[in-house]
Amino acid sequence: MTTSFEQGINTLKRVIDAPIASYFSSCTRCGLCAQACVFYTETGDAKYTPIRRVEPMRRIWEQEYTAVGKLKKLIGLSKTVTEQELEDTVELAFESCTTCGRCSMVCPVGNDIVYMIRRMREGLTAAGLGPKELRAAAVRTLETGSVMGFPMKTLEAQVRAAEEETGIKINIDEPNVDYLLLLSSAEVMQFNEIIAALAQIFQEAKVTWTLSSTAHEAGNPGMHLGSSEIEAAMINKIVEAAEELNIKNVISPECGHAYMAIRWEGPNVIGRPYPFKVYHIIEVLDKLREEGRMNTECCDAERITFHDPCQAARRGGVNEPQRNLLNMVSSNFIEMEDRKACNWCCGGGGGVNSIEKSEPLMDKVFHRKRAQIEMLDVTTVVTMCATCRNALEEGAEKNGMDIRVMGLTEVLANRLLKEKKS
């Protein structure tokens, strides 16, 4: 298709389903979602009220699907959505929303505002208004198989480096193993120590696993764009690889939105059930801990805290495994005041961190996270999402905070190593 304003409006008409219709008719405009949104609390600007971000979609719903709305449109009381309006909505639906879902959680009538935002984004993308950074990422992912656009040989080089470091052979495209491991581009390019870390943990636990040469990317810019079609194309790559290799368990890496896409949205967007199960890597590691297959040294007394990634914890339901694992290796794990389902967003998720225009706003909303961390007087913040990790590191650097940010898998691998050395 060719994106156009008309296609955008048509898509919005199309994506309004029964849940969205009931959400709009249930909204009482109580404003609780504003209080839950870090972009509102840190700026005080009412335009960032979550439900307001989907106002064009609300008017289309009213005018197209309700009797009162049809009448209002007829006599001119309700104006139709204009091109300018859709353009203005890009800031609200993309640039200042991380789809963290704190709004959905507090909504007293149970409206899933994040779901509505995603469909709003779908309309904007069909109108050709999707942010250029996210569109470019989608092209890179579909063309090269990686969000950052690196070729397979880059991953191969990282795998070889990890093999050399650990002396453990790492499989690529090995069929019939226990797990297919997906990685995010950030883990390949920036946080590549995770490959060696997992190789050691899995070796110790006698878990067989492989990477796939056609589906190693867990990230899904299609989901950020709200485009069900692009999202499905990316999910399908993974499903096909797992089916071809006959693998029954797929691991989503330390990446929040990847888990949301592959674990929760995937079967819906591709329209069929998976022949395999999906786990977050931290769920897998906690299972190994529970079965006594991962032996680590106890316990580090350093003051550490944990940042729950929105998509994995609040939206995805992975809340306890990370705590079980941290308590296994640390004697000084301190909880943040708002945590688990209530945690405040790092400010970088949902594609926001890749949109250049969003940077000043991201810096501003990071103050909430900063206050949460500084209150605890910790030396290390652990998380389990590459995007959160990037946002936390950047925020800490810009604000001169004396903290270290680590991925949980890396923390565990370090404790594993120490035991081996001793």
């Binding site: 298709m1 898509t11 197209e64 699907y65 009797a67 470019a136 092209v139 063309e143 692009i230």
Partner: protein
Amino acid sequence: MSQDKQVLAGELQRHGISRRSFLKFCTSMASAMALTPAAAVEMAQKLSTIRRQSVIWLSFQECTGCTESLTRAHKPSLESLIFDFVSLDYHHTLQAASGEAAELAREQAMHENGGQYILIVDGSIPLKDGGVYSTIAGISNLDMLKDVAKDAAAIVSVGTCASFGGLPKADPNPTGAVAVADIIDDKPIINIPGCPPMPVVMSGVLAHVLTFGIPELDALGRPKAFFGDSIHDRCYRRPYYDRGEFAKSFDDEGARKGWCLYELGCKGPITHNACATIKWNNGTSFPIQSGHGCIGCSEPDFWDMGGFYKPLSTGTSNPGQWAGYALAAGAAAGLASAAVNKAAKAKADKVHQPVTIEDMGKK
């Protein structure tokens, strides 16, 4: 059961009850009955100066549960002292005298306090076969009720049996049991139903009668202050009902989470009583709180309402045929509107084109 004409204030002092705690009692009574704050003070003044009120308590076809409820309520309290303070001149379970001496006490009280005494009745009155199914000292319940009611100032029917016939009246009602109000029609009658009634309701109503006279009553002769709301309206599980979260059996997950017991036969929606607010055993709990539905014991014919575990299938009022028409019309309108909307969506689907990699800006 002396005839000592003491005033209450002095009696309380002798029992070591301070004026402060007496006022507290009056305040809680007044608030329980939703009286104005000024009424508490008035009640205190009146109660402290009244003389002992003669009370005759007749027990007919009953199980003594009402008396148990009252006397074993909880630790000796002001409520029970109020009962100590009234001159309970005849109560065949509690009085020491027996046989002719007991009946003599009743006759003496009736003679000395003619037109002044309060008659409390628990138990129903059998009418079938000349009332032979329950007699006291050879006198049928019917005769004794008529005789004692004649000179009473007011009658308080305690318990569901006296109020509405209760268990003895349950189908097939072998003794022809009826309520007090079915026999006496020329005296003020206050019904305090419940199987048994709540102790505080009994003492509260008595305190009201002693100070302000007959309280405001509902259509079934029950004091509105205690029977004005349904159990359902005041139930702490009400939010689950509103959300449609029902326990399906007594040990399922819903039951453990404290969900609404409606589907397990709870009669809370049609039962008027104060259990959900005042609670039993000194405010400890009430049946719904301990996991069992309300059986509706303060309502007429509660025993014949189709089973304690059978859910109420419809509301308490008949929606009527007009509602059926309205429903059908609403459903038709809804379907028509849904069809129009469906067509609008289908049209949108038809002109929709999938977003492709080219749309993302692929060169």
